[in-house]
Subunit: 337 residues, 2 copies
DNA sequence: ATGAAAGCGCTAACAA
DNA sequence: TTGTTAGCGCTTTCAT
């Protein structure tokens, strides 16, 4: 059997309270006492029982991270990877939950059994909509990620989607490209990554006096490589002419580049391609992908900080909405200036 | 405050034992009693306290999954994605731990604090070596994944690395390719994915009467895209001629294809490329990647089954070693037959 | 600076 | 079929 506080106390010749104090770095302990206790802990290879600890303290040291999926969307794998590391630095453990981007499964995550074993939740929603905002009002610390819901009842970490998409489009216009196709729009969406990025795209066109051409808008859901390839094949087949392509995420862009190359369209000479996410892979595609970097490290650090802050008890203070800074990364899929 | 068994029992007018019985699907309960209890549970939105449950039962319902990383190696993201889903079906929750493939961090995972909050561990090692086998003897259920250690004290799920690499090489030979470069070898490694796959490669060459050419062996560690590209650039720069390239995983292959295309080498006409893993992305690269499918679904199902079996108490029965079946997936990076 | 004791919410052994 | 009770290992409150 594993040893307990009692065993350690007995061996060290102190009470269990003292052992507990040592473990929890309680400051007022005689150096001699501490040494005795630490020796006993080492001798017994004592490790605290987390269930007992949680039962008593009400804290588990676990935080949930709800994402649509880990594979296929490398973005979420990178997010999870960094989040696990950032949580670890703060003594927390991340528990990943996959929703498939499905609204019902996202709701299940919000009220499921796992909420009783985590101290808080980082929630990257894809299926919920603006109308669902009030469903985010929960009795536990919750930080919303992404751009499905704005102005909801929780802390929220997101990015400047409209501005970034606008800047990306202006970047392509600045290269002299006038007919910019879009891959990844969502029919009728206003809020959400697709809706906001399309808005930024339109704003840039308007500002440049370029017409918005419906025939250059490719609708895609979900945003996997496959979808980027399919949509782009359809755009090509439609006969619509375009000299640039703005994909609303890098996966779509990778798929789009495949479709372009199948059609013997040369990147970036015939069509310049711009993605969104700056995945690790973007530097290693062929050609390497110019893309918008949404500042993932900042998003990760900020959202963990907000959550930790709420867990520490500041549950009642005003909600915060943080927008990470973006930048455009210039690689081979767009021509050198 | 959240409600407890007591609250439910009081509201339903029964003892807490009866409520506990209902929750745990104990069969001998009068339908009427059960209905009363369920009504009370619903009214109070009662959810059991997992810490209390774990403290008492000694089970947490959590299992650890140790992998090197979630991003950069899509293989592990796919593994984790599937593992989470497979665990969920069995009422288990996966807790992902990243080791960076570092030996010390892998050892930390084996004895760290999280082992007290999981019922078992799925352990995908990369830094440990055959000599470390005995370190896997642990007082908790442990299933080893991968090919760093064989014949150790635990259950083990792996694949036919030598046979698969041999079959892959024979496949390339069968296409008439004679000078097959390798990307991803590890200097001096015998056991481990790199060592075993190189062995399979050599066996195929030997059987075909082809010489093993040291100058066609590209060493790469780790196995990311970047490394595949760098190694392949070096191979090209060395002046060594080759008409096929066998990358020891798909990421390396993606990087290698980039380097080949940079050098205006046409795939598959000039050089046929074969990968290993059959990542989702392999179907969407340009060109799409022929690769060896290691049977991930089988690996996932098998390893969870073994672990669940051990958790269920069969800790003493003989250790098992399972090898998943592989198959070669033929795509555009190798010429049609 | 350290100890004694209560009790977190649940399951399991036993009783009825 | 249901109730009673002990106790899992820890933190916390209150004493000293």
């Amino acid at each position: 059997m594993a040893s307990t506080l009692h065993d350690v106390a007995q061996l060290a010749g102190v009470s269990i309270k003292t052992v507990s104090n040592v473990i929890n770095d309680y400051p007022h302990i005689r150096a001699e006492t501490r040494a005795k206790v630490e020796a006993a802990i080492a001798e017994l290879s004592y490790q605290p029982n987390p269930s007992a600890r949680s039962l008593r303290s009400g804290r588990t040291g676990l935080i949930g991270l709800a994402v649509p999926e880990l594979s296929l969307s490398s973005y979420f794998a990178e997010l999870a990877d960094r989040m696990i590391a950032a949580a670890e630095q703060r003594g927390l453990t991340v528990l990943i939950e996959q929703t498939g981007g499905d609204r019902q499964r996202e709701l299940d995550v919000l009220s499921g059994a796992r909420r009783k074993m985590t101290d808080g939740l980082l929630f990257s929603a894809l299926g919920l909509q603006q109308e669902d905002a009030e469903l985010l009002r929960r009795p536990y610390p919750l930080v919303l990620l992404g751009e499905r819901i704005f102005g909801g009842p929780t802390d929220h970490v997101t990015m400047h989607n409209v501005e970034a998409a606008r800047a990306g489009t202006e970047f392509l216009l600045g290269l002299g490209r006038r007919r910019i196709a879009v891959v990844g729009a969502h029919e009728g969406e206003v809020i959400g990554s697709a809706g906001l990025r399309l808005r930024g795209y339109r704003e840039a066109l308007d500002a440049a006096g370029e017409p918005f051409r419906e025939e250059l808008v490719g609708y895609a859901l979900p945003w996997h490589r496959r979808d980027g390839a399919e949509v782009t094949r359809r755009l090509i087949a439609s006969g619509a002419r375009f000299d640039a392509l703005f994909a609303f995420n890098d996966n779509l862009a990778f798929g789009a580049m495949r479709a372009l190359q199948e059609a013997h369209i040369v990147i970036p000479d015939d069509v310049a391609v711009l993605g969104f996410d700056n995945l690790d892979d973007a530097a290693y595609s062929i050609p390497s992908l110019s893309t918008i970097d949404p500042g993932l490290p900042e998003i990760v650090e900020t959202s963990i900080e907000l959550l930790v802050d709420r867990i520490a008890g500041r549950l009642d203070q005003e909600r915060r909405e943080i927008m990470a800074a973006f930048r455009i990364v210039h690689r081979e899929s767009t021509p050198a200036i």
